[in-house]
Symmetry: C2
Subunit: 470 residues, 2 copies
């Protein structure tokens, strides 16, 4: 029952090495229900091991041998062992967020064993505030970052009274599926989709992977034309260096209301404010290290496009995605000026995207979906400068409280993939009035990563001040 | 300052792969001093990060490139980061030994990052009885199993009042070194030794590694002569299969007094009783799985030889080591008969060892020191049967209580290296009246490894009954 991997997924397996593990992660925080006893976490853990049936996505493992002609194929793990994949951990005293982030950093820096299905879930107890943390790690060959966050959401319920809910890897009974479609979550029940569609919730990875030529054509054009959506004049920074395999993860959330108020006062979007916070934080961080380049940093920002507008067909009916190169204006001193500049850069980038051909948009998508294959491809064409300095993604999540067997989801933070030349990744996701920032960096290349949290916080305050709100 | 690795150490790096990580481990349990406060473990952890100076052994990392001609060399890690190597963990509730063994199994199943110095120490809190666990992992290219256990012991003190003791990776001040020599620990201060000597506390690995020809001659002789110290008629068992990279670790200790009493009643040595316990446990385990072979299992048992008797010179002044192939008599039903048979097999093996030439003994040593290189070498010579079924080592430790900054060492358990064709390793170490058994197996090849603990316990009771003690 061997099924060949699609080219994108294979690419992620081939691109992986010790320094560059190709898995995405999600950290979720849950508030246990009011009547939770001392054995709540252990019971939750034990029950999660006992799922009646495991969904195919969580059973398949990659395999490659002479008989497959050296190609990667998916094969069902005939010795599947749930206890290997689902693990129970605890934080050392005093169990602050600091200890949790240290543990997640460590877990995210270890490679998944390719001989087994490509996922792990860690149920983590010992937070001083009594919350339960769940860190889930999935290989990018199995699922991309957006899909993995949606997958984790898709098993939750809006009903705090609902019980007997299976874990993400459990196969959902028909009844639950129907009720899930009624929720405000825009994602379809991802477990229903075939693996190839699941490979990209955005529906384009597979097609885009076949378009390296279009990609390079688009990039070349970008190199010659600054006004294009692809501005490739990113400065060299400390982030654009080779990386090692160890990771540092930092995460925090901010009230969306505060961020929206900044946007409303200036005509900027929520996403612009996210970018402005990142810009100010990066500037402060690089200044502290004496490493701020004269030229502004360029961020690659994946943006969703309605499939119809983009004139692309998507097999899974998902959204098309494009990538906008945004001038982060880190050369400007004033927070308000930076926000302005980002807003304009983002808007002109989106407009440029609207005038691109479907092939170009597909090629752009490959930028976002397969950053690891980008660097060698650029080198092949004599392009040695970083095409951008970092990737900043913003993945919308559910707006209302969600529950897992009565435990309230309290926060959700994505962990992404630093790659050679792109040592830091910032991914945000919104949930129930908060914007969760997840910063994943190479521990060695990006020193003192956690300082960025303070800088993000300072920057939001500075933006409030600059826009006359606070 | 690149120093070439000796051939044995290089061999361990080359032999390593995902399924066969080449590190040894040690689990130590400590009782905190009576006045320990709630921050005791965190303080201990934080202090251990602050060692003034780090010993060279813990700073060097392997490196291989075109400029080294593809050879492995040691180079000092110029970005050494103690926080990567020393980690603070906790057990989930209820913090039983079961949770501790699960954590150690997981930690032992992850490869060390070759880009960094080849060691990790995990300070683990959360045991329900208030004890502190310390799991240390070192690559076999750096230090063998015996040396690593001795290294961990060598930093301890017999004085419960002593404080300001540096961790194993801290460089010892002159004064402390002198006082350590006064202890009853037979090992010299290992940190004083040059790395090449440290590579083997037994002092022979380097020399033996140059003797593949002698090794094969000795093995070939063994194949033709059952009466030799090398009996190679080991049956095929489930243990002698390819392994995966995941590990299961089980550990427990028993009172040496009970074991000695069994020996005294039958004229057997303490080591014979260790082997008899393992024999009975393996028999019960394999019977349960319906996998007991008709022919008795053969264990490879490393034995110490006085260097003078073995007519070998040892650079570091350590002991020479040989290996005896012991018939474990798993075909016999009666525990007393098994002990008898093991006692005779062990004695005749030792006698045979006494009549071997130095070259033969050196070659035998390579068996114990470099099991990973053995299998390919045997296949090269058309020998496809397992030369033995498992390795059982017994490493003597200190006899009196030892302390680390006032915390009393309460137990010590070695974690060893399963290899392809040798999926289970049993290593014992004695300390303060107890014999600690550490069982390390491939999680997939050796199912229900923890059952062996019950069987070991049952077997000691059965031996006591068989010898009329209980």
């Amino acid at each position: 029952m061997a099924v060949p991997l699609d080219p994108t997924s294979s690419g992620f397996l081939f691109a992986e090495n010790r320094n560059q593990p190709m898995h995405v992660g999600g950290l979720q925080l849950f508030d246990p229900p009011g009547n939770a006893g001392p054995d709540y976490v252990r019971d939750m853990f034990t029950r999660s091991l006992g799922a009646d049936e495991v969904a195919p996505l969580f059973l398949k493992r990659p395999h490659r041998s002479l008989s497959t002609g050296g190609q990667w194929v998916w094969t069902e793990d005939d010795q599947f062992d749930i206890e290997y994949h689902v693990r129970h951990s605890a934080l050392p005293q005093p169990g602050r967020i600091r200890e949790l982030l240290a543990l997640c950093s460590r877990l995210h820096g270890t490679r998944l064993a390719l001989e087994r299905p490509l996922w792990e879930t860690h149920v983590i107890e010992g937070l001083e505030d009594g919350r339960i943390a769940v860190y889930t790690k999935m290989h990018h060959a199995l699922v991309d970052g957006v899909s993995s966050m949606r997958l984790l959401q898709s098993v939750l319920s809006t009903d705090p009274a609902q019980r007997d809910m299976p874990p993400p890897w459990g196969r959902r009974p028909e009844r639950t599926r129907a009720s899930m479609r009624g929720s405000d979550d825009p994602a379809p029940a991802l477990l229903d989709l075939p693996a190839s569609a699941l490979g990209s919730a955005l529906g384009l990875a597979t097609e885009a992977a076949g378009l390296p030529a279009a990609l390079v054509r688009t990039l070349s054009r970008g190199l010659r034309n600054e006004a294009s959506a692809l501005s490739l004049y990113a400065p060299r920074t400390i982030l654009n260096k080779p990386i090692t395999g160890s990771r540092r993860f930092a995460a925090q959330d901010w009230e969306i209301e505060r961020m929206r108020a900044v946007g409303a006062a200036t005509g900027a979007t929520l996403n612009d404010v996210v970018l402005a916070m990142c810009s100010g934080a990066m500037r402060a961080y690089l200044v502290e290290l004496g490493a701020l380049p004269d030229a502004p940093l360029v961020a690659m920002v994946p943006v969703g496009l309605k499939a119809r507008e983009a004139h692309t067909a998507s097999a899974s009916g998902g959204n098309a995605v494009g990538a906008v190169m945004v001038n982060l204006a880190t050369d400007l001193e004033d927070p308000g000026d930076r926000l302005d500049s980002i807003h304009r850069s983002m808007r002109s980038g989106k407009e440029a995207l609207g005038t691109m051909t479907p092939a170009q948009i597909l090629a752009m998508s490959a930028l976002g979906m397969a950053p690891a294959v980008l660097a060698p491809m650029l080198r092949l064409h004599g392009i040695t400068r970083p095409p951008f300095n970092l990737i900043i993604s913003n993945v919308p999540g559910p707006r209302t409280p969600h529950y897992f067997n009565g435990a309230r989801l309290d926060g959700m933070y994505p962990l992404s993939i630093p790659i050679h030349g792109m040592a830091l990744n910032i991914t945000c996701t919104s949930y129930d009035g908060h914007m969760g920032f997840g910063l994943t960096g190479c521990r060695r290349t990006v020193p003192h990563l956690q300082r960025l949290l303070t800088h993000l916080d300072d920057e939001l305050a500075a933006l409030e001040k600059a826009t006359g709100i606070a």
